[in-house]
């Protein structure tokens, strides 16, 4: 029985728990030998993980893009602190979550829509930082939007998923940053983490964090497809 549970755990990284359970059962029925079973499980996991890896790649690309926008806006190498830093961090983080969620969960998923909305407010604040009222309005809109999300069950679930993904992303970023500090203390190889190598590594580690934290089944799917679990 142990191998079915292991297979179930592996498959549930890339699909919903119900589907993973059914697939593990099917493969048990289909393959009598351990070797055949694990070959089938591996093949299925690889086939199911396509979107996972595509999501990680697109999310990393979003990170690189947002970093370049921030660098163009604030100037290379400048440390961004205070409210400006908060907006920049939100822009980076939420654009990554939105990008990953769009690929993995779909464009209409509440997680995608919520992360994209918050990310857009931050993008506008960073891009038009010279006009004082724009960042202020963006900040107010972000707070109001979060309050609006809290009023609905789906919104609360989406917000929770986004917070978890954000925390995991930050953890991935922080761990990689520490590792870079050990491997390359003077940041020679990474060139102050400028385009392309350093940014890509940080983007990937952050995106893997998001991918690990966001569930394969979306908030929207769980509510709109009762027929899947009768």
């Amino acid at each position: 029985m142990h191998r079915i549970e292991c297979a179930e755990f592996l498959l549930s990284r890339f699909t919903t728990h119900e589907r993973a359970t059914a697939i593990a059962g099917d493969l048990t029925e289909l393959e009598s030998t351990s070797f055949g079973f694990w070959c089938a499980v591996s093949h299925t996991a690889i086939a199911l993980s396509t979107r996972f890896w595509l999501g990680v790649f697109v999310s990393s690309a979003a990170y690189v893009f947002a970093q370049r926008v921030a660098a163009l806006s604030w100037g290379e190498g400048n440390s961004i602190t205070g409210l400006a830093g908060l907006f920049t961090a939100c822009m980076l983080l939420f654009s990554m979550i939105a990008a990953y969620s769009a690929v993995r969960l779909g464009l209409t998923d509440p997680v995608t829509k919520s992360a994209a909305a918050i990310s857009s407010f931050s993008f506008i604040a960073v891009l038009f930082r010279g006009i004082t009222w724009v960042p202020v309005a963006s900040g107010v809109l972000t707070v109001l939007f979060i309050f609006a999300l809290l009023l609905f069950a789906q919104g609360r679930k989406a917000l929770l998923s986004i917070l978890l993904a954000g925390a995991a992303s930050f953890l991935g970023l922080w761990a990689t940053w520490q590792l870079i500090g050990v491997v390359d203390p003077n940041q020679e190889a990474f060139g102050n983490l400028r385009w392309p190598l350093g940014l890509l590594i940080l983007g990937l580690s952050s995106a893997v964090g998001i991918a690990a934290a966001l569930p394969p089944s979306s908030v929207g799917q769980a509510n709109s497809r009762p027929s899947s679990v009768e």
Partner: protein, 109 residues
């Protein structure tokens, strides 16, 4: 009109239609192997089923757990009205393309 269905999607939909209430992963794979002579890999089959469910061409329901499957339930599939229409459109397109040819042993118009 283009049905938007790939060849493998059509095969899977037809296998589900043939199996009726008994269509789940293992039986669909066996039906395809028996009828076409090609055994699809489990990975290809499950990703196709997931994709078709997202497109609304099939729906699934979870059955009762069975001991020979380690207590795991079967996931039964059913073709939706949209799925049936998509298969019909694809078959109509094939039929129209075949009109006037003798490659099916005189089954032409």
């Amino acid at each position: 009109m283009w049905s938007g269905l790939g060849e493998f999607e059509q095969i899977v939909l037809l296998a589900i239609l043939r199996l009726s209430d008994e269509a789940y992963g293992v039986s669909i794979r066996a039906e395809i192997a028996e009828r076409t002579g090609r055994t699809p890999s489990p990975g290809a089959l499950y990703t196709t089923l997931d994709r078709m469910e997202e497109k609304g061409l099939v729906v699934s329901r979870i059955g009762d757990p069975t001991p020979q499957r380690g207590g795991r339930a079967k996931r039964y599939f059913r073709v939706t009205k949209a799925g049936t229409c998509a298969v019909k459109r694809a078959q109509d397109a094939y039929r129209r393309l075949l009109e006037g040819f003798e490659i099916l042993g005189g089954a032409s118009a």
